[in-house]
Symmetry: C2
Subunit: 240 residues, 2 copies
DNA sequence: CGTTTGTTTGAGCCTTCTCAAAGGCTGTGG
DNA sequence: CCACAGCCTTTGAGAAGGCTCAAACAAACG
């Protein structure tokens, strides 16, 4: 937590909020925060909750305070592709209203700080710094999407799963650089499969392979311990 | 072409330029255009030219005046994934300097209108409308990337190739809504394969399948005629 | 506990890849 | 204008990685 000179003017809820430091609210000064704070509210959603249905235009947007949010796309016949995972303190919601057709769900239990979508336009119009933050997040998401295109299009099953674990180990522990060696998988095998363009069975087989090779340990199917980070990196990059 | 009241104040080169209407320059007024125009210059590059090497930080950014630009990512062992195709009048170049690791090449012969990267920052700082255009382009690119993740992760070879042709038929003929029924492929089979996460052989086989099914005709390997658009759409969506 | 849901493991099959060779363009030089 | 070289594309045959279907197992929940 950071000490601000104007901390006293900042809404109580915002004081300890990560979104104010690393998220989009960091671009706002105390009066702006106060204004935004009046229209915002916090909510919790259980794992699996649909936050925005595919094709729907949501009325609210949110900072993710904790948990993991899953964005996915659907094909008419039911095939699914997860197109992004968002972690705290990412911002959830799209400016300019030209929403594309994604399904937004809580992958884990999630806490959000939400406010009306029009406030987003208002804030962007009123603060160039705010728009810049939004813009930068979009560019970061674009980079992530492109990295994942590489993974989806050109890596084999082993490389995909290893890449996924590495990605998680970098994201799950917020605000800390580098890799965590121990973390919970934010979703089940079938969501992982939908993220990697594989089937649950193949994901499961690759995880057991990594386990038997001594690269990771798995406890109660949801918790991963990275035993050999270099091995994992090597597999992810196609070294084996 | 549009008639502007202040056309006379607009740099000569910009008057007939698509980028001024549908591209980012549309956000600039005559004085701003004039200022930008003084630092900009036009260049042509032959198909295959490397515009920005992977990992390099370019000094210029550009509007694409004509042609197709290919962005791709490389794996250490040489595998390649094309992560985006850009068409006129898209903008090429990244604000904020946190460039990600992509290789930029001319897919076809290309004409660019380039200016220094710092001008980009200057323009964004000076014009909120300009930053908004950049921001919107990033969001559009993000949508495209996500659509393609769906294609890469969950579609089979036939669906991928059909989706690719449909995408081209929408993009190749600029400024026009809907689908073109006749267009040139902007790249060879192996680049198409690298875009679709397939091999050249598989791309070739799927193209001949579509040809034998009467959905398309191919002339001299580079020109496609869409004979049955509905068929193509159906294949792309997994209808068959 | 028993039920339900999610995960792991196995066996066989199918799509796509790999490797190989033939066929078509394009451009150059005779 | 034709012949040839080089490159790209097409086609074929066989191998393999990942999928499908099916069953055993483990974990979560009432």
């Amino acid at each position: 937590m950071r000490m601000d000179i104007h901390n006293a003017d900042v809404p109580v809820l915002c004081r300890a909020c990560e979104a104010r430091h690393r998220g989009i609210c960091g671009a706002l000064d105390a009066p702006e925060l106060l204004r935004l704070g009046r229209t915002s509210s916090r909510h919790e959603y259980g794992a699996g909750t649909t936050l925005v249905a595919a094709g729907e235009r949501p009325e609210h947007c949110s900072n993710i305070l904790s948990g993991v949010v899953k964005l996915s796309k659907l094909l008419p016949d039911g095939r699914q592709q997860v197109v992004e995972l968002q972690f705290a303190p990412d911002f959830l919601g799209r400016p300019f209203g030209d929403e594309s057709d994604v399904l937004v769900e809580a992958a884990t239990d999630v806490r959000l700080c939400s406010f009306p979508l029009d406030m987003l336009q208002t804030m962007m119009a009123g603060s160039a710094a705010f728009e810049t933050r939004m813009h930068r997040q979009a560019l970061r998401q674009l980079d992530d999407a492109r990295d994942w295109m590489m993974t989806l299009g050109r890596k084999n099953a082993a490389e995909k799963v290893a890449s996924f674990l590495l990605m998680l180990s970098r994201h799950v522990r917020p605000q800390q650089e580098g890799y965590s060696t121990s973390f919970a998988l934010p979703m089940g095998r079938s969501d992982i499969a939908d993220f990697l363009g594989l089937t649950t069975e193949t994901v499961s087989r690759q995880l057991t392979r990594l386990r038997k090779d001594g690269a990771i340990a798995i406890e109660r199917t949801r918790h991963v311990e990275v035993l050999d980070l270099d091995e994992l990196k090597e597999v992810a990059a196609g070294g084996t």
